[in-house]
Symmetry: D2
């Protein structure tokens, strides 16, 4: 990862601020010959788009993506793909106060400390709006993956919102698209709706946990030791705004386990090794096993709330702040499509990296 | 991060296998004029060295580090510093069986799937032995930090082993060096000794959680958006063998919090902003606040255990495996100095990166 | 350098094709607080703009640059600066034939061989049109250099066109902007005008050599051994379309010299070392000496000519090709502002890199 | 290229000083399964080894290479290969004077200006001794190329020494190994021997030009626009000590040509396109055509000569310097195997990069 760029061979550079004229992603390293269309990318962007229901910020952005380069007659050419999204609903007047005061728990103060200057409008570069560019880039990655590994699926969903967890016994993938929370649990979806509505009305916010699963990931991806698949996934998820923790498979809970409990025993199936469990989250020694790759991460509550909090001004004077504006009561909801996009980018990147380093020679046969 | 290298300006490449002739680190980007001695590096290596007590592997390695380049008359010259550690106690005969069978929960199988060839002796490149090179490199980073930010301290310690947690009300930094577990809690140290001794005798193993704190980190470090300080720390910790989860500050628990609870309120102190809490773990928007930087991670139990586990052979036949050899009942113990070393490398790297990108111009004044 | 990106800390990624909707540069790593305006960038772009006189392609492009991000209230913020230039005068119909036939000496065939698909319109990504993005990025570099090293000047000019060389005894910097060839020699300017006019009318083209000088470059820039200042300059110039040779200082002629003739003797001046000559072109061991940094490079003649040349079609049939369209009789002319831009980017990059690696501590005093 | 590392997927980091305990190369990214032996590497090193005849420095180094990692049972494993060469004949006393005085034309002064400290013994890091590490790494690259592209050959030879050029009409590859100058011209070899012997006796030195040709390079290698094959070759050659100019194909002479003269016409052969000439040096648009890749570069004369030259001391006092020690009268001779090694590394790197970016899918068919 290099400042505003991530990836080794599939390299994504995002650019743009919340209230500037536009934002986007410069996508370098998409293999040639992949079908890419603005329509397909738009489908992914629409999942993340704000203002779609009362649980996300009421900012209304078309989030319309333009492909400015790298695609010719509907196919990628191997040259950089520039994806641009114009900002249309900035309403800069909403943000007058935060030019002077720093929101506790927000990047306002650290950007100022680092650079001595900041675009305070809507959080500038630190706004979650930047993640629209990631979703667009993730759409390109998905298109390339569809061509290279047709069986691969990447699915994200919420597993926790505040104190509320999903019930894994009710887990149902089909539910995810049926509710505004991307929750694979119909009962939870109803319960959470009431809970979040109350929070929203009181001007509060709450954290969340999201899980993303890549099924059909080929074995052998991941470049030990400092570009391990889990290392790169951890970095990718931690780079998403407001994320404070990342887990692979068993995650932090692994600290409680014994060696016997943690071992994913191996048997032999018709197509290769079969694991009897997946504590490892599909990654051993930083390399994929061929099982589901499972990543989980926690998103903190939005710092923009109606309850007054103590803070200081740019001049160093103590004061209080209340953030009115338009904000997400649970920013974790919109992190779901963002995390899926990051997962797609990382897996594609490692697929290309493996191909470069090792080749596409016949996979190891166990025989 | 680039395969076997990490860092932007302070770049560390580790090399070497568990049972090869030697291993080491190529350290590029240490500023010139920093006092570096083999003796000082040896001090850090001795913390990680195996065979020091009954709780770590009985392999006996001198872990003696040689400085082969980059230091002249006791000072770094700005050229690459090569650190080499000869392997001396390999006993390859201990590892006969694992040439044929894959240990469940171990990288044996994935290295084989990726490369079609693996140095199975002692786990080859995937062995925790590689972390000796990180500790040596971390010693160089510490020396440079001592010159550039004399007040900075980096301290790691265990906070959990299996079901056992430290009691934060008894937290005492002075205890850390007084017990073989690097536990800041004298009561826990005694309790854990009994617990782990039992586990060890039964040939089992257990997971652990470690916390590392950097006090005195200057505000402003971290390069948003894809080389955030927390992104790089997450990658650094996840790259350590057996790590399955990483947390910054409040970590995964942030999912349960409301915006009110999570906000670290800001007041004004004589030297700048003062925060009334540190849920953020010293990082906002990927940039350090000047508070303690707090990272936590979980290490899975060693997969080398005496209880038979089902597995397959290289030929794809189902079998069972019992790993005798010499192993750590709780590999998390030796992860403590490794994590400190990674923290030192990451913070130095970001200090240099900030200096390059923004300069050493007067820090922002709040006035 | 990483595919479509160059630079270590000041990183420029260009994107876009000759006949796509737009092209541009994603500029990451500009220090914060630098005054940046579209007007200032436009000034540099206008130097490179086609269609300004009969000696360059008659394609008429406004080459109007839009700043889409990274600048707030006229100052850089330290976040990526996106520079976009819309294509307006594409006339794709002019390029019908080259969809099927490969121009000898052109990248048509190799892009096809590499990617299996190519945007043939106007040369697609391989068009010299891409260099507009470099000039825009160079404008940002110039603005940052003006803030950091006010005395630095970067000046490019032609020294050869076909068999015609400038006469160094008539060298006059003031002449450069007075003629369409950027020639520092008034007599040559007149002579070359006649020569090139003839060539143009006959539908031929010719090569050229350009020299770029950076005066006021601080001593100490350059990161040996693989990011030497001359290494990076050589790569930067060689990356410009049609360049086939790069020289530093004495260049290829150094092969003829003895050690006595080549030594730039050193004496002591009031402000530091004074060199009695500059065979080295201001760089020793890959590090700047403080003298003028002198780079020279040769540009081949445009492959688009009216004389029929033998070639093959996409189907592998032998044929002939004549390129009508709109082309530069001497593409070297427009390489002058491009090379200046590359020089500005490389020097700024090395200034930041040096600051990061070594710091801004007092320069070495010779005393 | 990143400071002391070059390459994208095949990454070589060199380390070590002329008079330190050892030097070497950390080679990351060699594909797995490649036969690597110390003996084979030694063969390449012996070509570069000093003290073999009276035309190179009389320093006697065994240049014995040890493989410390990354090779198991004679095959590469895909993990970093550490190559170490112990220094044995340092004689630091020879270099007393250069601790205080800067040799004109040498990196002594710039290393001091950059870092404020330098290992002056034998030139420290700036010594041509560093190139031994490149040759060792190049041996690894050759082994991988032999496995991946068996028909590829890489051959370097001198084409000029001072005013003396080879006669291309007498060009004979078989001669190269028959004389101490790697000259493909038996008559020149005899003539140059007398010429250089005189120079050597007078304590002078002279420059040289070297040409390196890669025959059998597949079409399609090179990653436009900033990792073009010629860009990376130019950087690789310019990074070699004392190089001041680099040319591809026609090189600087291209400035004199017309479009008609420069066009390499294309016809159709049984296996694909056939070019009627090779002005392009096998590279168009930064991508290989399948023809011979031809690179030429000029090496300046050693700055260590017996004729007194004016210079200054570390204290800024004016003085004269005469360099006795052991030096090469024409350092260009030993640059031949170094350049071959760099060519091998760059071509392997681009082969892997192409495989990662585009895949090994059937080559484009012209039909």
């Amino acid at each position: 990862m290099s400042i505003n760029t991530f990836g080794h061979l599939f390299r994504v550079t995002t650019w743009g601020e919340s209230h500037g004229p536009a934002l986007g992603a410069t996508v370098d390293g998409c293999p040639p010959g992949v079908p890419i269309s603005a329509e397909a990318l738009q489908g992914w962007l629409n999942k993340r788009k704000p203002g779609q229901n009362k649980y996300t910020t009421q900012r209304r952005e078309a989030d319309e993506v333009e492909i400015l380069s790298g695609v010719f007659e509907g196919l990628s050419t191997g040259t950089p793909i520039q994806l641009m999204i114009r900002n249309t609903d900035q309403r800069s007047k909403d943000y007058g106060e935060i030019a002077e005061k720093f929101r506790p728990g927000h990047a306002d103060i650290t950007y100022y400390q680092k650079y001595g200057i900041r675009d305070y409008r809507g959080g500038g570069r630190s706004s979650a709006r930047e993640t629209a560019a990631r979703v667009a880039a993730g759409g390109v990655a998905r298109a390339a993956l569809a061509a290279l590994v047709p069986d691969l699926t990447i699915t994200g969903y919420m597993v926790q919102m505040g104190e509320k967890h999903i019930d894994r016994s009710r887990f149902d993938l089909a539910q995810i698209a049926q509710n505004p929370f991307w929750v694979p649990d119909a009962v939870a979806a109803e319960d959470w709706a009431i809970y979040l509505d109350d929070l929203r009305k009181s001007g509060s916010s709450v954290g969340a946990a999201i899980e993303v699963v890549a099924s059909g990931t080929p074995a052998g991806l991941g470049a030990p030791i400092y570009a391990k698949l889990d290392t790169d996934l951890a970095a990718a998820m931690m780079s998403i705004n407001a994320v404070k923790g990342v887990e692979i498979g068993e995650g932090m809970n692994v600290a409680t386990l014994t060696g016997e409990a943690n071992a994913d025993e191996i048997t032999m199936g018709p197509d290769g090794p079969v694991y009897n469990s997946n504590h490892a989250g599909g990654i051993l020694g930083g390399i994929s096993t061929g099982q589901d790759v499972v990543v989980r991460f926690a998103v903190k509550p939005t710092s923009s709330i109606l309850t007054p909090r103590r803070t200081i001004t740019r001049a160093g004077e103590e004061t209080e702040i209340v953030t009115k504006g338009r904000h997400d009561p649970c920013v974790g909801i919109r992190a779901v499509p963002v995390a899926e996009a990051m997962m797609a980018c990382v897996i594609l990147d490692h697929l290309l990296l493996h191909r470069g380093q090792v080749g596409e020679a016949p996979r190891v046969q166990f025989r």
